[in-house]
């Protein structure tokens, strides 16, 4: 029997990352740099929210959790388990693209590892999202390559964006002190430290190809806290806006 509390903890943080990142990315809708990109980025934001919904449904259906909509929209801020990376305001497009690159590579590594999970629902979901994530990383890699080779200003901004996001992104791999050992032992997934290592191996060749400098691994100080419900000042306003319509009438049928 897999440790239920540990599984819940893992799924909540995965789902919250997807929801908050999806919402942030959707803020670009109508404001993207060109129409084609606006559509592609918005479509991927929807995919993220779809992943969040699938995970909230696993919580609801397999683990006795609350209704997915209520769980997504009605929790107080400190009960969200999203990492700081995804809460950050969009800033300029270079920042958003670099975050998209780092986040989606991390997400891909995570789901890939769950194709062998002992928890069936995660195993099935990880196979279902495989194609979508392949596109998301293709898109992210293409942009990182393109902008890093588009002249001095563009290159400088991409390097700056990487410097600004790398420690935040490393914070995605914050392990639960309470549950990590059980999750690894139960073969739910290989654990955050292992995913972090795989992620660095995955992003490194792309960054090299783009001539971007990844800071020394030892110099990266992962930004933790999100998994324990400690958030930046940016999450609360996002939650307020995101749940505004839902809160007009939480009982409404759609």
């Amino acid at each position: 029997m897999i440790n239920q509390a540990a599984i819940k903890d893992l799924i909540i943080k995965m789902a919250d990352d997807e929801l908050i990142q999806g919402h942030r990315n959707s803020e670009w809708t109508g404001l993207g740099p060109v129409m084609e990109e606006d559509i592609a980025f918005s479509s991927m934001a929807q995919d993220k929210i779809g992943h969040a919904w699938a995970l909230y449904r696993i919580l609801h259906e397999d683990l006795g959790g609350e209704d997915p909509d209520r769980f997504a929209f009605l929790r107080p801020e400190k009960e969200y388990r999203s990492a700081h990376l995804v809460e950050m305001p969009n800033g300029t497009y270079d920042f958003s693209l670099m975050r998209h690159f780092l986040f989606d590579q991390a997400e891909t590594i995570r789901y890939e590892s769950m194709q062998e999970s002992s928890f069936e629902s995660l195993r099935l979901l990880s196979k279902k999202v495989k194609g979508e994530l392949k596109y998301h990383t293709l898109h992210a890699n293409a942009w990182v390559m393109q902008l890093s080779k588009a002249g001095e200003e563009s290159y400088g901004r991409m390097q700056q964006a990487l410097n600004d996001t790398i420690a935040l992104a490393a914070g995605l791999f914050e392990a639960s002190p309470e549950h990590e050992a059980a999750l690894i032992e139960d073969k739910v997934y290989p654990g955050e430290a292992e995913l972090y290592r795989r992620w660095l191996d995955r992003i490194y060749p792309v960054l090299v190809k783009a001539s971007l400098n990844l800071p020394a691994i030892t110099a990266i100080k992962p930004v933790y806290g999100g998994r324990q419900g400690i958030h930046t000042i940016h999450l609360q306003p996002l939650l307020k806006e995101m749940s505004e319509v839902f809160n007009l009438d939480a009982e409404a049928g759609w």
Partner: protein
């Protein structure tokens, strides 16, 4: 006089200084790519529209979400519009007299009668 376009790509070209040669760096200005959509394996790729992109790779990335987001699709082609060779509009007259050459149509061969007769004999 600068060209105050709403499109940043146009402004980057710094048009308007008469007599000066405008030099466009590789990748600086975006191209149009024609998109061809394949509905199932083995089927023809059909032209479905176009996208703006700085290179073929991103054209393909964009085309996927513009043209394969909802309808069934198994593959896409992108081709730079400028690489397509076409006749000039005024050369349309080259095609004009085809209608008078009906003797070239396969329909000239009367075989259906024989085929039907063969089918009935079975």
């Amino acid at each position: 006089m600068s060209n105050d376009s709403l499109d940043p790509r146009v402004n980057r070209l710094k048009l308007g200084e008469a007599g000066e040669v405008v030099k466009v760096e590789e990748g600086e200005n975006w191209n149009i790519y024609e998109v061809f959509h394949q509905e199932k394996r083995g089927a023809h790729h059909e032209h479905v529209g176009c996208v703006h992109a700085p290179d073929p790779q991103l054209a393909l990335v964009f085309a996927k979400e513009q043209f394969a987001r909802r309808k069934k699709c198994v593959n896409l082609w992108v081709v730079k519009s400028a690489d397509i060779l076409a006749f000039d509009v005024e050369d349309e007259d080259m095609f004009a007299n085809n209608l008078e050459k009906t003797y070239r149509d396969a329909s000239g061969f009367k075989v259906m009668e024989k085929i039907n007769k063969f089918k009935q004999s079975k």
